[in-house]
Symmetry: C2
Subunit: 424 residues, 2 copies
C-alpha cells in the first residue's frame, strides 16, 4: 500500500458520501406533514409507505445528521434537520408520565408500542449528546441526562453489574425468555458504551465518566470470550452465557433460522459486532484520555480474529458470524457489518502499522463499493449472498437507516486522513 | 376500657415526653465543638465518650427533632437543633465524589467508615424530608431527592424487584454472605417504605409515589409469609427466604447467639418489626390517600399474630421473636419493640374497635412505664429480661438514640387523642 492507495480510498469515500449517500437521505427523510423522519424506502428510493416511526429510526437519523454537520457535511441543512428531529423525538416519543421514550409511533406520532427498550434509549442518549455537541443547544444534553438517569434508576442491575434491557411502559421489567427480561446482551452493552462515551464527551461529568469506565470493564470482563476474546452475544442476568434466542421485540433481521434459533446458539460470534466493539472502545479510551496501549491485547485479539475468520478473501467483504475458536458459520454479507469492519480495520492498521489490516480494509472497501452500495440510489443493500447478489432489497426500514452507512464513511475519512498525514 | 383510661395514658405519655424524655436529649445531644449529635450515654446519662457519629445516629436525631417540632414540642429549640444537625450531615457525611452518605465518622466529622449502606440512606431520606416539612427549608428535600435518585441508580434491582443493601464507597456492591451484598431484608425495605412515605408527603411528586406504591406491593407480596402474613427477615436477591445470618455491618445488637446465627434462622418473625410494618403501612396509605380497608386482611393478620404471640400476659411487654405459625423463641424484651408495638396496637384498636387491642396496648404501656423507662434519667433500657430487669444498661449508642422512643410517644399521643375524640 502506498499513499496513492489511501488518497484514492479517501477521495472515493468522500465524494460518495457527499454526492450520493447523504443526498439520498437529505432529499427524502423529512416528514413535511408530521415532522420527524421517514426511513422506509424501497430499492428505488421510493417511500414504501410503512406507517411507523421507531425510536431507533428517529434517534439514529438525528445522530447521523448531527454527526455529519459536526464533520462539516451538508451545510446548514443537516443542522436544521437534526433540530427538527429533536423536536419530534421530545414532543411525540417522550413519555411525560413515566419518563423515557416509547418504542414506536405511527407516522403522525401516535404511540403504537409503548414499551421501554434499553437499546433504543442508548441511541437516544447517543443522538441527544451528539446534537448538543454539534449545536450547543442545551436541550439535547438535558434529555440525554434525563434518559441516562432513568436507565440507571430502572435498568441497572447491581448484583451482577450491567443492565437489564426490556421493560414495559412504566419500566416494569419484561418477563423471561423471548420477552427478554432475564437477558443481558453484547449488543445493548456495547451501544451503551457508545452512548456513555458521547454523553461524557458532551457533559464532562464525573458520574458519566464512572459509568462509562464501569461498562468498559464489564464488557471486557464478562462479554468477551475468556479464551478467544471474541464477543459473546447473549447472557443470563448473572452473566452466564446462554444460547441465543430471538426476542419478541427486535431491531434487526438477525440471522435466525427456522425455529428462531441460531444453528449454533452457544458458540457464535459476530465479526461486525466485534470490530464495532473494538473501534468504539478505542474511541471511548480517547474521550477518557486513557492509554490505548493498556488495552492493546484486548484489541489485537479481536482484530486478529476478524481478519483471520471474518474477511472473505475469495469474494470480498465480511461474513456474518462464526465460532469463537475460528471458522465461519454464515457466509452471507450484511450491510452494517461491512460498515463497522471498515472503521475497525483502519483503527487496527493505525495502532499496529501491520499491512494485513490495510489489506483487510481494502478488501471490504472494494466489496462495499462494488457490491454493497446500490449505486442507482446511493444507499446500501441490506443483505447479500456471499458472492454479492442482493437478497433483501429495501434501502431503509424501521432500523436500517443511515447510521451505520454515513458513520462508516465519516469515520473512515477521518482515519484515512490520519494515515495520509502520517505517511507525509 | 373507658375514657378515663385513655385520658390517663395520654396525659402520662405527654408529661413523660415533654418533661423527661425530650429534655434528656435536648440537654445533652448537641456537640458544641464539632456540631452534629452525641448519642453515646451511659445509664446515668453521662457521655460514654465513644468516638463515633454514625449515619443512623445523626439522621435519627434529626428526624426526632424535626418531628417533635412539627408535633408542637420543644419550642424553637428542636427546630434550631434539627437545622444544625442537617448542616453536620451535609457538610461532614455527604460524599461529594460519589454521592450518598458515609456510614461513620468520628466526633470531629472525619470519615472512619466510608461504605454506603442503604439502611442509613433510608433514614437520610426520612429525616431530610421531615426536616423540610417542618421548616420549609428546601435543602432537606434537595438532599432527600438526591439520595432517592442515588439509591434508584445504584441499589434498585430490576430483575426481582426491591433493593440491594450493602455497597462500598463508590456504590460497588458488597460481596455475598456476611458482607450482605446478595441479601434483601424486611428491615431495609420496611424503612424504605417509611422514607418514601415521608418523601412523597414532602414532594408530592408522582415518581416518588410510584416507588412507594411499588415497595408496598413488594413488602406484601414477597416479605410477608405466604401462609401466616408475618414478616420474614432475610432473603436472597431473588426473594427466596434464606436463613438469617449476621452481617459485618450492623445497626443493632440483634439477638444472635454464639456462632452468630439465630437458633431458628429459617422460621423467625419479630413482633416489633411486624407491628411497626403494620402501622407504617397504615400511615403510608393515608399519605397516598388509599383506602385502609383494601389492606385490612394484611393488617389484621399481623395484629392478631402480635397479640396472640408477642404480648407477654404474665410479665407484660413484647417478646423478641417467635415462629411464624405462633409461639415464642426469645422472651427477652427489647426497648424498640415496645415502642413500635404501642403504636401498632393503638392503630389496631382504631381500625377494629376490638378491645383486645386496647388491652394489649395497655399491657405494653404499663410494662414500658414500669420497667423499660429508666426514670432516673428519662430514656429506656435497651434490653431487659422477660421479668423486666435491665440486661444492657446504656441509654444511647451509635443506633439506640431517640427515634423509637420519642416517635412512639408522639405517635401514641396523636392516636390517643383520636380515640378520645371518638368517645366524646
Amino acid at each position: 500500500m502506498n499513499k496513492t492507495d489511501v488518497l484514492e480510498c479517501r477521495d472515493k469515500t468522500e465524494s460518495y458520501l457527499s454526492q450520493s449517500l447523504l443526498p439520498f437521505w437529505l432529499e427524502r427523510m423529512e416528514d413535511p406533514v408530521y415532522g420527524g423522519f421517514i426511513t422506509h424506502f424501497d430499492e428505488f428510493g421510493a417511500d414504501s409507505g410503512e406507517d411507523n416511526k421507531s425510536l431507533i429510526s428517529q434517534t439514529r437519523s438525528i445522530y447521523t445528521l448531527a454527526s455529519a454537520h459536526r464533520a462539516g457535511y451538508g451545510g446548514s441543512k443537516c443542522a436544521d434537520m437534526a433540530k427538527s428531529g429533536i423536536e419530534f423525538l421530545i414532543d411525540k416519543m417522550w413519555d411525560n408520565d413515566y419518563g423515557g421514550f416509547y418504542w414506536m409511533t405511527d407516522r403522525s406520532g401516535k404511540v403504537i408500542k409503548n414499551d421501554k427498550v434499553l437499546y433504543g434509549h442508548s441511541f437516544a442518549i447517543y443522538c441527544l449528546s451528539e446534537y448538543t455537541i454539534m449545536s450547543n443547544d442545551p436541550i439535547g444534553l438535558e434529555y440525554a441526562e434525563k434518559t441516562f438517569n432513568l436507565i440507571q434508576n430502572h435498568c441497572y442491575e447491581p448484583q451482577y453489574g450491567g443492565y437489564l434491557e426490556m421493560f414495559g411502559r412504566s419500566w416494569d421489567l419484561a418477563g423471561p425468555g423471548r420477552a427478554g427480561g432475564d437477558r443481558k446482551t453484547l449488543d445493548v452493552h456495547m451501544h451503551l458504551m457508545e452512548a456513555f462515551t458521547c454523553l461524557y464527551e458532551c457533559s464532562q461529568k464525573d458520574y458519566h465518566k464512572r459509568k462509562l469506565v464501569e461498562i468498559i470493564k464489564l464488557l471486557i470482563d464478562k462479554v468477551l470470550h475468556p479464551e478467544y476474546g471474541t464477543g459473546i452475544p447473549q447472557f443470563s442476568s448473572d452473566w452466564k452465557q446462554v444460547p441465543q434466542i430471538k426476542f419478541d421485540i427486535i431491531w434487526g433481521w438477525d440471522r435466525y433460522r427456522d425455529g428462531e434459533q441460531k444453528a449454533n446458539p452457544s458458540d457464535n460470534t459476530c465479526y461486525g459486532h466485534n470490530a464495532e466493539f473494538a473501534w468504539l472502545l478505542i474511541h471511548a479510551l480517547k474521550i477518557l484520555k486513557y492509554e490505548i496501549s493498556d488495552y492493546r491485547n484486548v484489541l489485537i485479539r479481536i482484530f486478529e480474529h476478524t481478519v483471520n475468520n471474518g474477511i472473505d478473501s475469495k469474494y470480498g467483504g465480511v461474513f456474518v458470524e462464526g465460532p469463537h475458536m475460528g471458522g465461519v458459520y454464515d457466509t452471507e454479507k450484511e450491510f452494517w457489518q461491512q460498515a463497522e469492519v471498515l472503521i475497525g480495520m483502519l483503527d487496527a492498521y493505525i495502532i499496529t502499522d501491520d499491512p494485513k489490516y490495510w489489506q483487510a480494509y481494502k478488501n471490504v472497501f472494494d466489496f462495499t463499493f462494488d457490491k454493497v452500495i446500490n449505486h442507482n440510489v446511493g444507499e446500501w443493500w441490506p443483505l447479500l449472498t456471499r458472492e454479492g447478489e442482493p437478497i433483501w432489497r429495501h434501502m431503509g426500514h424501521a432500523w436500517k437507516t443511515n447510521y451505520h452507512t454515513v458513520r462508516s464513511m465519516i469515520q473512515s475519512i477521518e482515519r484515512l486522513n490520519r494515515i495520509i498525514e502520517k505517511i507525509n
